[in-house]
């Protein structure tokens, strides 16, 4: 326990102090890492803790991003003031999505969220008078330091919120929902409520991430929140180890900084990055580090195995040598 406390403090201090030795450009990259950290944390709440997989978190980021963009661009709001609004919008959207999501498990939910991730940018393109369409909306600029500070402050707030959430009754309910639906249901925990709540929280975090993302880029248009973004969040979560809170920082740094590091040092070209990432995802899935394995197994859940109706009446056979 003490070691953990030390590591947390060390990490926090490093994060707080590092910007002062970085250039402005690198500070804004640090803000990007914060963005991914929030989005991945959001994804982990839903996938790692309640076992519902989502490939559509880019869409929730889009919601937050567009909320901030529209409020600042069209209505002149102060950017920081838009953050709580984005949080609420995200939460509401997450709950709305979370309700039907209860009906689907595993691969079907992945399919639907995948389609969702592709559909939302199209909708944004369509209602262009609202969203600025493909030309997008421009936003006020900020210094790298400002972005870094605001970004990581949000990360800190979200981490604390998550920690509080997972400690109490909600956390126990989440874990119960993940581990055994039957047991949880029989102990009086209303699974539906908690799972939907988890989705809402997860989307809220992604929305705030989207707001910061938009501020970092000073710009938003539908393509910014495309499929690639949702996939990269997933990559970050996979590298982090689904369900791990600490791995998240590793995952976020991996997704944001590794490509830049590799391309600027000419190890691989920019086009080679997705090839590497894809290969890494496959490798991780093939080798399945303990964290992901445990959680993914929970994510399917024994009573929900889609395959079970296919087995013959004989009991499951184990693999022969």
């Amino acid at each position: 326990m003490k070691v953990r406390g030390l590591i947390i403090s060390a990490a926090a201090i490093t994060i707080a102090l590092i910007p002062f030795v970085l250039s402005d450009y690198h500070r804004s990259q640090g803000a990007d890492v914060a963005v991914y950290a929030m989005a991945i944390l959001g994804l982990n709440v839903v996938t790692g803790y309640t076992g519902q997989i989502s490939i559509g978190h880019g869409a929730f980021m889009a919601l937050g991003g567009y909320t901030t963009a529209i409020l600042t661009h069209n209505h002149g709001w102060n950017d920081i003031a838009t953050l709580p609004i984005a949080l609420l919008v995200g939460f509401a959207a997450g709950v709305v999505v979370g309700v039907p999501a209860l009906r689907f498990h595993g691969a079907y939910l992945a399919l639907l969220t995948f389609a969702f991730a592709l559909a939302v940018p199209q909708i944004a393109k369509n209602y262009s008078h609202f969203t600025g369409g493909t030309e997008g909306l421009a936003l006020p600029t900020h210094t790298g330091l400002w972005l870094y500070g605001v970004g990581w402050a949000c990360v800190a707030v979200i981490y604390v919120l998550t920690w509080l959430l997972l400690r109490g009754r909600t956390g126990r309910a989440f874990r119960a929902a993940r581990d055994s639906e039957v047991a949880a249901a029989s102990s009086g925990v209303s699974l539906a409520v908690y799972k939907t709540f988890a989705f809402g929280v997860s989307a809220a975090f992604a929305a705030v991430a989207g707001s910061i993302y938009v501020l970092v880029n000073n710009f938003v248009n539908p393509d910014v929140f495309g499929l690639t973004l949702s996939l990269y969040i997933l990559i970050g979560a996979v590298v982090a180890g689904l369900g791990s809170l600490w791995g998240i920082l590793v995952g976020a740094a991996f997704v944001q900084l590794l490509p830049i590091g590799l391309t600027s040092s000419h190890v691989i070209s920019a086009e080679g990055v997705p090839v590497l990432f894809g290969a890494i995802v496959i490798l991780v899935m093939a080798l399945v580090p303990l964290g992901s394995a445990e959680v993914l197994r929970m994510a399917i859940g024994l009573p929900n195995r889609i395959r079970s109706s296919h087995d013959s009446s004989t009991p499951h056979s184990l693999e022969a040598r």
Binding site: L111, E271, V281, I306
Partner: protein
């Protein structure tokens, strides 16, 4: 129960067919939109059958199917750029797709499948999607390229309506490839073994079928269908040859597979053609449905089908936890 469902589905499909035929007879525009819609539908159907093949055998939703189709289409383009004429390049690409698809399963999916977790494999297919799409960009770059078509660009006039040869050809080739595949499954020993392995892997092992090889072959055949879909798509006017070419098509193919019943190849064909035709008509006749809203429409369709009748039009009607 099953009989009732069959009648309802049959009546529904008959109604759709009547709608399309009557509309086509009434209006030349309707007829043209229907045919070009069916051409799109043929592409969705081919890719949809590929998805169904893999899902039926392994319960895995292969997110990389579109990317693999894109890759094979680029291969075809490359062969033609190197001087091969269309049809030789087409068939050579099919062969390459078969080998490639089989190898991909062997190298990337098999090690993950061994872990035994459907969801892990699904995430691996997402990784594969990123990998393959990235490879296309890496090898060929992201610029838009021009894909030649098998069919000359002019239109045939039948009964006063202009039908593009490209559209008719696409419908023909898509349907033909699905029929060839069907024949393979129905009439050959290996096709029978593949079906057995898909339906009852344990029982298939007991009669000597090497189930894991059958899975690899299934991926190979799925890749062939994907290549057909990709080559037809790239030649069509609405799709440009670029690395993310099949992302949208993949969604429509998923919608076709879901609507048809994720385990029914015939369902994917019928649903694909239907979705293609209907979306095309919807886009033209209903004013607020712009081209950008078609993809969200497909998403909504999938959502409704999975909520209301998860087994789709042709799927087995047993209660299944979705």
């Amino acid at each position: 129960m099953a009989a009732y469902n069959r009648y309802v589905v049959g009546a529904f499909l008959a109604a759709c067919a009547i709608f399309l035929v009557v509309g086509s007879l009434q209006s030349a525009l309707f007829a043209q939109l229907t045919v070009s819609g069916l051409a799109n539908g043929g592409i969705y159907a081919s890719l949809g059958v590929a998805l169904v093949l893999i899902y039926r055998a392994t319960q895995v939703i292969n997110f990389a199917q579109g990317a693999i189709a894109t890759f094979t289409t680029y291969v075809a383009w490359q062969l033609m750029t190197w001087g091969l004429s269309y049809w030789p390049a087409f068939f050579l690409t099919l062969g390459i797709a078969f080998v490639g698809g089989t190898l991909v399963e062997l190298i990337t999916i098999r090690p993950v499948e061994r872990r035994g977790n459907v969801l892990t494999v699904v995430i691996a297919t997402l990784g594969l999607l990123i990998l393959v799409e990235g490879s296309v960009g890496w090898i060929w770059g992201a610029e838009i390229r021009f894909m030649p078509s098998a069919f000359p660009a002019h239109s045939e006039h039948i009964g006063g309506v202009a039908f593009s040869l490209q559209d008719l050809g696409t419908i023909g080739i898509s349907v033909a490839s699905v029929i060839v595949l069907w024949a393979l499954f129905q009439f050959t020993k290996i096709g029978l073994a593949m079906r057995a392995a898909a339906f009852r892997p344990e029982a298939a092992r007991l009669v000597g079928v090497r189930v894991s090889w059958m899975l690899s072959l299934g991926w190979g055949l799925a890749a062939v269908l994907g290549a057909v879909a990709g080559m037809m798509a790239a030649a069509s006017p609405s799709v440009l040859l670029q690395p993310n070419m099949m992302d949208g098509v993949l969604i429509y193919a998923f919608a076709a597979a879901v609507l048809g019943g994720l385990e029914s190849p015939a369902g994917a064909v019928v649903a694909g053609l239907l979705i293609g035709a209907m979306l095309n008509l919807l886009g033209s006749y209903v004013s607020w449905v712009t081209p950008q809203l078609l993809l969200p429409a497909a998403f909504v369709l999938m959502l409704i089908v999975l909520l209301v009748k998860p087994s789709g039009l042709f799927g087995r009607t047993q209660v299944r936890r979705v």
